[in-house]
Amino acid sequence: MAPLSRHRAILLAYGAMIALLLVTSIFSPGFLSPGHLRSIVVLAAFIGIVALGQTFVIIGGGIDLSVPWVLNSAAVLMTLFAAGQDAPLLWIVPLLLAAGALVGAVNGIGIAVFGVPPIIMTLAVNVILQGGILVYTGGSPAAAAPPLIQYLAVGRIGVVPVIGVVWLVLALLASLVLSRTAFGRQLYAVGTSATVATFSGLPTLRTAIAGYTLSGFTAALAGMLLTGYSGQAYLGMGDPYLFTSIAAVAIGGASILGGSGHYIGTIAGAFVLTILTGLLPALNLSNGALLIVYGAVILVTVSVSSDAFADLFAFVRRRRAAG
């Protein structure tokens, strides 16, 4: 029963995603065109990559509000250092990924070792990073994103977007780590109960810190890739990813309080959010009406994937079976 109920939330998130896609295509037939599906994959990939680290952090019982400016900093610094050239990426990308991871580690240490509440720690780090990057660069750098980054973000192999492939690889790795590694097992344990994890001899601190480190890493990665989408870095590019990265995780079935969820669910969450934002312009509604629809659709989507709904469903089926 456990595996079933564990996967149920995820399956239903995918159900919601497909339903949303079909409904959307009624409003605008072009939605299911290969070109548009590709553009959905590309946009979802950015949310998905930021939400990858966020998934780990949330499963571990925390939350990372520093993703906007980790992302933005990596984007700005990458274009600044690379000056439009591919060659320097060889050192820039590893350097900035490491820097993102380092910021994440600082978050993790503040939270796990010093006991600062995650919300405050990561919020403060976000503000400090924002200020830091403004002091350091005074704005967005001049250069366009290097061609290689642009290729990764918007290029395609046949009909398949390159970033879709990148995302798929990351998703497989993340799923593997969560389901099949010692670290994944420990992360769930720490998020479920830090006390029990400690009494069980798990490296509680290290595990929590690793989650934040990964989040810093994926936010930095997403930031660099995102420059390839817009062709450049700009200030504020990380802002939309604060709530979307958390919402994707939650829609994907994870509890915000930790210990449950899976990246496979988050992927559906990223798609749901992307399809929703894409659906709305097509509806031609006012800004206000748009938000109302957005809220309503989220409610319906998550209700359909809720336990209560599933119970009701099971109940009806049992009734039916009983005659």
């Binding site: 548009h36 403004l134 005074g138 704005g139 995102l226 700009y234 200030l235 504020g236 097509a282 748009l290």
Partner: protein, 326 residues
């Protein structure tokens, strides 16, 4: 009071985009450079984006009893009670860029009637009075967004052949513009023009990504837009300008007022040149100057994409390096 040094605070409610960075840089420059050098002791107060934070900051500023306060406001009305307090304390208040409605405050801004009207006029001409367009609605809740949208629509109404087939929220950022246009393109196989409120280059990129031909685009005068329009095969653009030197203009206005040279009206409009890929002469605004985009002159490949054009007000020289901060 001519020759005196005035203590002036600039209250800015948002730091997270390139425009505001440039605005602050040029304002700080204006305080140091001729003709205002020595005339102002400028302090810039940046606050987080909430109205409450700006109110609190303004209250702190009022307690410091400056000669003038310059405000790039987070709301056109919500700061009014606080601003009235400042006025009552004898402080000169100049709101600029995102201006306020408080009658006691000067409001220095671009001519938001002229900009969208002229750009829509240009679009109608490009389309020969016939075609389907998308319109950018800017940012939900921002007063300027509605004015731009309405400005576009008002002029387009005079061209019955032009049909608005879709709206998106560009949010004055590249990503949302690109994503918004991309979604609309999926729904609408045909589009002949896009009226943006933002960079415009995001719209062009979305067209290219979708494998569509590049259609005429209206946008704002960012360096990236100028460069993209100049370099993109077949691109037609017109760029309206909300110049990054508005902060400096506000300083100048405040100094003038403190010196006793009050403008006739509390509303002060700033007119900056348009940029376009071709020559364009407006019938609606015959005085309006439209520069032709020329790389190296008014758009630079090696300068920050977010640089707002034009760079200098006519009373002060600002180099591109100074504006870009590097």
């Amino acid at each position: 009071a001519e020759g005196k040094t005035y203590k002036i605070y600039l209250s800015n409610n948002f730091v997270g985009n390139d425009w505001r960075q440039q605005m602050i840089r040029i304002a700080e420059l204006a305080a140091k450079k001729a003709p205002l050098a020595g005339r102002v002791d400028l302090k810039v107060e940046n606050v987080e984006t909430t109205v409450q934070a700006q109110i609190n900051s303004l209250n702190n500023i009022i307690r410091a009893k400056p000669d003038a306060i310059l405000i790039d406001a987070g709301s056109d009305t919500a700061l009014n009670p606080t601003i009235e307090k400042a006025c009552a304390a004898g402080i000169v208040v100049v709101s600029f860029d995102q201006v306020v409605t408080a009658p006691c405050a000067y409001a220095l801004e671009s001519d938001w009637d002229r900009i969208p009207a002229l750009m829509a006029e240009w679009m109608a001409k490009e389309l020969g009075g016939k075609g389907k367009v998308f319109i950018d609605r800017g940012l939900a809740g921002a007063p300027i967004s509605a004015r731009l949208q309405e400005g576009y629509e008002k002029v387009l109404k005079n061209h019955p052949g032009i049909e608005v087939i879709g709206y998106y929220n560009g949010e004055y950022a590249l990503g949302p513009e690109q994503a918004g246009v991309a979604s609309l393109l999926a729904a609408h196989p045909e589009v002949d023009g896009i009226l943006t409120q933002g960079y415009g280059s995001g719209a062009i990129k979305a067209l290219q990504d979708a494998g569509r031909k590049v259609v005429p685009v209206t946008a704002f005068s960012y360096n990236v837009t100028g460069v993209t329009c100049a370099e993109t095969e077949g691109a037609k653009c017109i760029l309206g300008s909300n110049p990054g030197y508005l902060g400096a203009e506000a300083i100048k206005l405040a100094v003038d007022v403190l010196d006793g040279k009050k403008p006739a009206d509390r509303h002060v409009l700033v007119y900056a040149d348009f940029l376009a890929t071709d020559e364009f002469k407006s019938e609606l605004y015959p005085d309006a100057k439209v520069q032709k985009i020329a790389l190296g002159t008014n758009a630079w490949k090696d300068r920050p994409p977010g640089l707002t054009l034009p760079i200098s007000p006519d009373w002060m020289e600002v180099t591109a390096e100074e504006a870009a901060g590097n």
